[in-house]
Each structure stands twice: as C-alpha cells, then as structure tokens.
C-alpha cells in the first residue's frame, strides 16, 4: 500500500514564526497535494505539484509556499504564521493526473 507520511500530528506555533510541514510518500507518485480542512468548508487546495520542482497554486495559496526538491517529499511552508492559519493540513499523493488520492494522517496546526 502507498504510504503518505506527515511528519507531525500536532503542532503549536507562535504568530510570526516560519513553519514547515513535511510530507513524504513512498510509492514514486508524480503528483502531490496540500489541502487544509476547516469545519463547514471541506478540503481546500493550497498548492500541488505534478513533478519535481514544479508547483501550481490551488484555491487558497496566500500566505503559503511549497518546495519539492525530491519526488517523494513535498513541503508546505508558512512564511509568517498567523492565527487564521490554525487548521488541519492534509497531504495527498497520486500516481496519475486523475488517479485516486492517498491521504496522510494530517497535521493539526495551532497558531497562538
């Protein structure tokens, strides 16, 4: 089975800190995604990547950036964390452009 691993289950950071959320997949998937999940809003796409060093903005990229230096790793960066970025962050990967996604277990980030 494909495994998508997010490095932290829970994080608490202070306003203004630079925050790194890491995601690693072990099945050579081309496509990787970062979503945030908030009650009543479903999952909203922040950024995605369909190849190493390639990235594309999703629906809510403001305040975030990403890095994909290696195929298996996709990092989400909060340049200066704010309280409105308190959320559940989910990473996913897929083999093909339209294939089913496999999700990581999520990182619950609290910014205080």
């Amino acid at each position: 089975d494909v495994k998508v691993t997010q490095s932290s289950r829970y994080l608490v950071k202070r306003t203004g800190e630079k925050v790194f959320l890491e995601c690693v997949q072990d099945m050579d998937h081309e496509n990787m995604f970062w979503y945030r999940q908030d009650p009543g809003l479903g999952l909203r796409l922040i950024y995605f990547s369909y190849d190493v060093k390639m990235k594309e903005k999703g629906d809510i990229p403001e305040g975030y950036s990403v890095s994909r230096e290696k195929k298996e790793r996709f990092s989400l960066i909060l340049e200066s964390a704010s309280t409105n970025q308190t959320s559940m962050y989910l990473c996913a990967s897929s083999l093909t452009r339209v294939g089913g996604y496999t999700f990581g277990s999520g990182t619950r980030l609290t910014v205080v």
Binding site: G42, L43, Y50, E56, D59, R97, G100, T102, G104, S105
Partner: protein, 115 residues
C-alpha cells in the same frame, strides 16, 4: 471555477433507515470520488465513478453518477451505527495547459446514525 456542493451538510438518522446524500458540481467532469472520514482520522477512498451512469456498491453504500445532470448520489441502505462519519465527494479538474490535475471537494456531509 469548479464548485462542488453537497446536500445535506448534517444528517442524523436512525438505524435501519435509508437516505441519500447529494453532490452537485458546476463544471464538466467525468470522474468523481467519494471519501469517508472518521473523527480525527484521514480520508479513506470509497468509490470512484468514471462515466455517466456508473454505479458502485459496497455493503450498505451505493454511489451513482449522472454527468449530464452533474450530480452524484450516495445512497445509504438500512443504516448502522458504524456508518457514522463525514462523507466527501470530490471532482477531478484537469488543467490541459499545465498537465496538472486536482480534486475539488464538497463541504462534506456529517452523518450520525443513532441506535
């Protein structure tokens, strides 16, 4: 812009009853997914529907797709407590210029099945 809307957002039902969750989407797509999420857990894939008229069934859940109406349904038959979870539909959107694709999710339907 692709929009995906689920109805209802909250559903409380008794064991043994039947109900349907609806998923409407705004742009042409011929691939739709249903996911399940248990509290505190990640998303688990339930069904992928690939073409107009597709129907998939697993246990007490049956999903269908009508691409002309841009509508998918998730029907629950004789609900049991174990089905309590949040259910999401998601539609694929492919960007032909960049070769990137993404899933756009509905808001989720929080289902509670009461004894």
């Amino acid at each position: 812009e692709l929009k995906v809307e689920q109805n209802p957002l909250f559903l409380s039902m008794q064991e043994g009853k039947n109900y349907t969750i609806y998923c409407n989407y705004s742009t042409t797509s011929d691939r739709l997914y249903w996911y399940r999420q248990d509290p505190g857990k990640s998303l688990e894939s339930l069904f992928v529907l690939l073409s107009n008229g597709a129907v998939k069934q697993e246990g007490r859940l049956m999903a269908s797709l009508d691409t002309k109406a841009r509508l998918s349904t998730l029907h629950i038959t004789a609900a049991v407590h174990d089905l309590s979870a949040t259910y999401f539909c998601a539609v694929v959107l492919v960007n032909l210029e960049t070769s990137g694709s993404r899933l756009t999710f509905g808001e989720g339907t929080q289902l509670t099945v009461n004894p």
